[in-house]
Structure formats: C-alpha cells, structure tokens
C-alpha cells in the first residue's frame, strides 16, 4: 500500500576502505518508535548517518519516504550524539534551539517571529524554558540532551533520527524524553533511535533493527530479541566478515567494480 518510511537495498558503506555496513536490506514503516541496536562498532551510527545522506553508500541505496535522502531533509530532524559537539561553544540554550529553524532558503540564518515562537514552544515542551538564556556549557548532561531534542522539535519534522539520546542522562530526563517521544508518535511522527542498552530496548521500542555490520534481524521487537539473534550479534567469535573487512582495509581496493551498480531502485 503506502511507501515504507525507510527502505535500504543491499546497502554497503565503508569507512577508510573497511565495510562498516555490509549488504543491509530492510524496510521500516512510519509512525513507530524504531530502535537500532547492536554491539559497539556494529555500524549503528553509520546506518543513521547514511539514512539522511551524511554518508554516501559505496553500493546499494537508501530511500526515505520513497525518495533520495537529500530531497526530504526538510521532513526530518537529526539529534546527534551529545558528545559530538563542544558544549563550551559561546551560545545560549535558545540560540542552539533556534538553529533548528535555519533553512537552506535563508543562508544567513535570519529568524522570523514565527521561528522564535516555535523555538519557545519546543523549549517549553522539553522543560527548558527557564534555561533559555543560560550558556549551554552550564547545563547538566540531561539538560544538554534536551537542548538537542528541542532543536529537533523546533524543525517540526515527520521523522526524528536520534543517536544515543539516552546515553549519560539521568532517570528524570530519560522519562521526559520517552514521554515526549510517545507523544510525538501518537501524533503520527516516526522516531528512529540508535540505542546501546538491550535492557531498555524491549521497553522503549516497537520495532528493532539489530546490526552487527550486517543485518542480523529487523522487525517487531519481540521477534528481533530472540536468544539466537542476540547470540549472533553479541557472540564473541570474530566472524569471517570482520576479518574480511580488515583485509579490505589493508588492500585499499575500491568497492565499485565495473558491471556492478545500484540499479535496484530504478524499477
């Protein structure tokens, strides 16, 4: 019936010649809370970044809302890992939240009254109104995470892509984020979250994508979290795949051979 929210076809992404994602096929539908899980270095963040076109696939393809990621950036919001930025940056909470209102059509970042209103609403929604004028470096980890969340909300997207939003936050912030996400989902928004904690994954998400460089499983949470799948994802043995990856890194061979291309999507 309707186009899937996210569709990956034989997606391979490499970093310094080493495949980080290997031949991923999956299809996810809208209006869900979707978790991307897997052990460290299993390609979770790479997957998220490829979804919105921040990284280019070496082969295969990704579709968001049935289109090229670059064409639908207006419809999504990205929440990066909290540690990925320097919080000593000279900016107040509201300055960062307002970044969510920047548009490509407005390259100097001028802001309208409407932009400011939406930013205020977003801060209110995550309980940061009283911190609006604070320097971002003065905030606690949980509050900083909520700043990123507010910035994403201010964009009013249909799809949220979040990288480890629960890492290093207190229980109160975790609950606040979860309540907010559930509310967004009830409004028909979709949420994709990179998550590392298996314990809470079951509780948080409707659907899971379990990665370990390749796709182990994807689908409804209870079908993904089976002992077999988890053993495959977290089992200690070095797989042939990762040994091959190391070999490829050493050989520095280009991935795309003549005759192989990603024509799958040109149906």
């Amino acid at each position: 019936m309707n186009t899937p929210l996210i569709e990956a076809k034989s997606l391979t992404v490499r970093y310094h010649y080493k495949p980080v994602l290997w031949n991923i096929d999956c299809s996810l539908s809208a209006g869900r809370m979707i978790g991307i899980i897997g052990p460290n270095g299993s390609g979770k963040t790479t997957f998220l970044k490829t979804l919105m076109g921040l990284l280019k696939p070496d082969s295969g393809s990704v579709r968001l809302f049935g289109k090229e990621p670059k064409q639908v950036l207006e419809r999504l919001s990205y929440v990066p890992q909290r540690e990925s930025v320097d919080w000593d940056f000279p900016a107040r909470v509201q300055d960062v939240v307002l970044m969510g209102r920047y548009r490509r059509s407005n390259l100097l970042g001028r802001l309208s009254k409407e932009d400011r209103r939406l930013a205020d609403e977003a801060m209110d929604e995550v309980g940061l109104t009283e911190f609006a004028k604070r320097q971002i470096g003065e905030l606690s980890g949980g509050q900083q995470q909520r700043v990123f969340l507010a910035r994403a909300i201010a964009r009013q997207p249909e799809l949220f892509l979040m990288d480890e939003p629960f890492a290093g936050v207190d229980a109160a912030t975790e609950d606040a984020i979860l309540r907010l996400l559930a509310r967004l989902r009830d409004k028909g928004r979709s949420v994709v979250i990179v998550h590392h904690d298996l314990q809470t994954a079951q509780r948080f998400f409707d659907e899971l994508v379990l990665l370990r460089t390749r796709l182990i499983a994807s689908g409804p949470t209870e079908q993904v979290l089976t002992p077999d799948h988890l053993d495959e994802a977290y089992g200690g043995r070095l797989s042939v795949l990762s040994r091959m990856g190391d070999l490829l890194q050493k050989s520095q061979l280009d991935w795309k051979e003549r005759g192989i291309n990603d024509s799958d999507h040109e149906r």
Partner: protein, 423 residues
C-alpha cells in the same frame, strides 16, 4: 601628528579587527594551528611574487601571499588523505616546508643584491610604520571587507563551527561555508602580516578570540569583542613601535594583546580570577554563617524548652576564639538569623528555619552515604559537614526519591551520634 601616522594607525586597527573576528571561527573550530600554518606558508609566495615581478607593489605581494597560503591548505588536505588520523602532522609538514622554502627564497633575493629589497625583511616581524598610503588602502580595505563578511555571516558559520553534522542534516551548504571561512582566514592573514609579520600572526588570530570568550558567552558579542581587542592590539602595537625607528610592530602588538588578555583573565565576570575568588569568598562566608546557626539550633534542640543559647556554650562547642565568635555573631545578626538578647543569643524565625534546614541536609546526606554508598556510620560525618552547604533542592529531592522517603522526611538525629550511643 603627521598624516602618515594616522594612515598607519587606521590600517593597523582594521587589520587587527579583521584578524580578531576571523580568529573566533578558528578558535571555535579548534584549528587555530591552521592559521599559524597559513601565515608561515605565505613567505614563499611573497618571495616569488617579488622575484617574478621585481616590484614591491601591494597588490602583487598580496596575490603572492594569498596563492601560497591557499596552496598550503590544499597541501594539508592532500597529506591528510595519506597520513590518516594525524591532522597535526600534515600541518607541521606544511608549516615547516613552506616556511623553509620561503626563507631560502628570501635569502636568495637578499644575496642577489639587486632591486629595492627593503620592506620584504619586515615580512617576518611586521613593521606597520613601513605601510604607505597605498598599502593602507589595499590591506585596510581588504580587512574591512573580511570583517563585514564575518559579522554578517556569523550565525551561519557559527552553526557550521558548532555542529557540522547537524548543519549537513538540514541541507546547509557546509562545504561552501567551510570554504568561505578558509577564504576569510587567508585574506585576514594576508592583510594582517603587514602589521605583525608572519612569525607572530597566529597571536593576532588567537589571543583576541580567547580573550573575548572571557567576557561573553554569546557568539555575536564574542565576534565583536574579539574584533575590538584585535583593533586595540593593532593600535597599541603601532603606536608603541612608532616611538623608535627600529622597533618591530609584531612583538609590541602581541605584548599589547597579552596585556588585554591578562585584564580579561583577572577581571572578567564569572570566568575571571577575581570573580572566582569573590565567589569562593562568599561561599565561605555563607558556610560560616550556616554553621553558626546550625550549631545554635542544635544546642536549643538538645535542651527543649530553652529559647536562648549562652555565648560561652556556643564558643566552646564550636571551638571559636573570642574574635572569631564576635565576627560570627556580627555576620549572623546581619543576615537576620539571630538576635542578641539577655543571657545569650536567640534565633529569629528565619534563623530557626535556616538552622533546621542545614541540620536536615546534614543528616540526609549521612543517611544517603550510609545506605546507598555503604560508607560506615562513623565515617559519614565529615563529608556531610561540607555537603550540607552545597545540596540544592533538586538534589535533595533526588536523594529522597532514591532513598524511597517522602518529601517531608526529616531525620532527627545525626546517625553517627546514633551509632555512638547505640540508639
């Protein structure tokens, strides 16, 4: 004041302001070292421009420095592709390599002994006074353009500097802005080395920006202040170097900038040393007051029915000298917590509240340490003496929640007392 001096001064102010503003982006993107590299890499360009043209024309020298500055960045990118995750190695190679070539060229020109060489030697340490009217128009004008572009685009470039991945995710032309920032940097440096010279150019990029961060925590004001500090440094350096014929401008500018930085480090609100010391002092006074009222309320709670505490009892219990005691009394009275009455001291309404609050926090922390952190009962008292002055209402709430206690829970006795008496 002669008119040439005014020209030179205007030039230095503009050059300093442009470098100060552009330096903010370098500092925020944590690549101040790139500015250092670009500045040093301009030397061969200047030498080549002079060799090829035989002229000391400002435009030609500018062109030479911009081209070789840009080339050094291309070179750095290229080296980084092979050296992998060692970005500083690429910078070091570019800096020393280009600079080395430049010195060779300069020496060659010098030994050739032909042409009007004077002025090129100022390239290393700067000689603002050597600027002629034309130089000021060219370099000052360029600096002004750079300054205006930095101010106009500060939001957009700020986004790219703060969080490039997010910027890309909203379709922001990150590459374009990175190129713009690099171009502004190269131009500001090419202009700035006229005043301070290649060797000390990095100071003009870094010090004003770092100083500005002491005074504000917003991007726009940081940029403006940094430009102002850069301009001040330029002006002071020029004025000082004009007092003697052989004084190079660069070192004097840098010294002026250091002076400004020192002012910021000492005087700035919140981040400055003075303000930090003041804050610490206030906190100490607060702790002292709180201790005084706390012990007083304790004494009264131990003898139900009494309303006043004799001064001698307090002094003995707290181990205070007479002087310390009267100082405490004075300050606590000033806070409105106690009243001196016949037969001793008496807490006011707010004094009672305050004393009870501190005691409560003290005991709460002891309970928390003992139950949640497993600290033996006879060891919990000392840290509680400090923590009682620091616990915020939010933390108090969290502690209560974690202990599974209701909001109005108030342990009545310090638990180490309990342990000691076996209660």
């Amino acid at each position: 004041m002669d008119s040439n001096f005014l020209y030179v001064l205007t030039g230095s102010v503009l050059l300093g302001a442009a470098a100060g503003a552009v330096g903010v982006f370098g500092l925020l993107r944590k690549n101040s070292l790139v500015g250092e590299t670009v500045a040093h890499s301009m030397l061969p360009g200047i030498g080549m421009a002079f060799l090829l043209s035989g002229l000391k024309n400002s435009w030609i020298l500018l062109l030479g420095s911009v081209v070789s500055g840009a080339l050094s960045l291309v070179f750095v990118r290229w080296v980084r592709r092979f050296s992998g995750p060692r970005p500083d190695a690429a910078l070091a190679i570019a800096l020393s390599g280009f600079y080395g070539v430049g010195i060779v060229l300069l020496t060659f020109i010098q030994n050739r002994g032909t042409g009007d060489f004077s002025g090129l030697d100022h390239v290393l340490f700067g000689r603002a006074a050597a600027m002629v009217e034309e130089d000021v128009w060219v370099f000052g004008g360029l600096a002004l353009v750079v300054l205006i572009m930095a101010l106009v685009g500060h939001r957009s470039m700020g986004l790219v500097a703060f969080n490039p991945d997010f910027a890309r995710s909203i379709g922001w032309p990150v590459r374009l802005y990175e190129a713009v920032m690099a171009a502004l940097g190269i131009l500001a440096i090419a202009a700035g080395i006229r005043a301070v010279g290649i060797v000390l150019m990095a100071a003009l990029l870094v010090i004003p920006a770092a100083t500005a961060r002491y005074w504000t925590h917003r991007l726009g004001p940081t940029l403006v202040l940094s430009a102002v500090f850069g301009a001040l440094g330029g002006a002071l350096g020029t004025a000082l170097s004009s007092t003697s014929a052989s004084m190079p401008t660069g070192p004097l500018t840098v010294l002026s900038l250091c002076g400004l930085a020192l002012l910021g480090i000492v005087l700035a609100p919140q981040r400055g040393l003075l303000s930090k010391m003041l804050k610490k002092h206030r906190k100490r006074l607060q702790s002292e007051r709180e201790n005084f009222i706390k012990v007083m309320v304790l004494c009264l709670e131990e003898r139900p029915g009494t309303q006043t505490v004799p001064g001698s009892v307090l002094r003995k219990r707290m181990g205070l000298s007479a002087r310390e005691y009267y100082r405490n009394v004075r300050r606590t009275v000033a806070a409105g917590w106690i009243l001196p009455v016949v037969g001793g001291l008496k807490p006011t309404e707010s004094g009672w509240t305050e004393g009870r609050r501190i005691n409560r926090l003290h005991r709460l922390w002891e309970v928390y340490l003992n139950r949640k952190a497993g600290v033996p009962i006879d060891r919990v008292h000392e840290s509680a003496e400090v923590i009682e002055h620091l616990l915020t209402p939010e933390l108090e709430r969290d502690i209560l929640a974690e202990l599974g206690l209701c909001e109005h829970y108030a342990p009545t006795v310090e638990i180490h007392v309990n342990a000691a008496t076996g209660a």
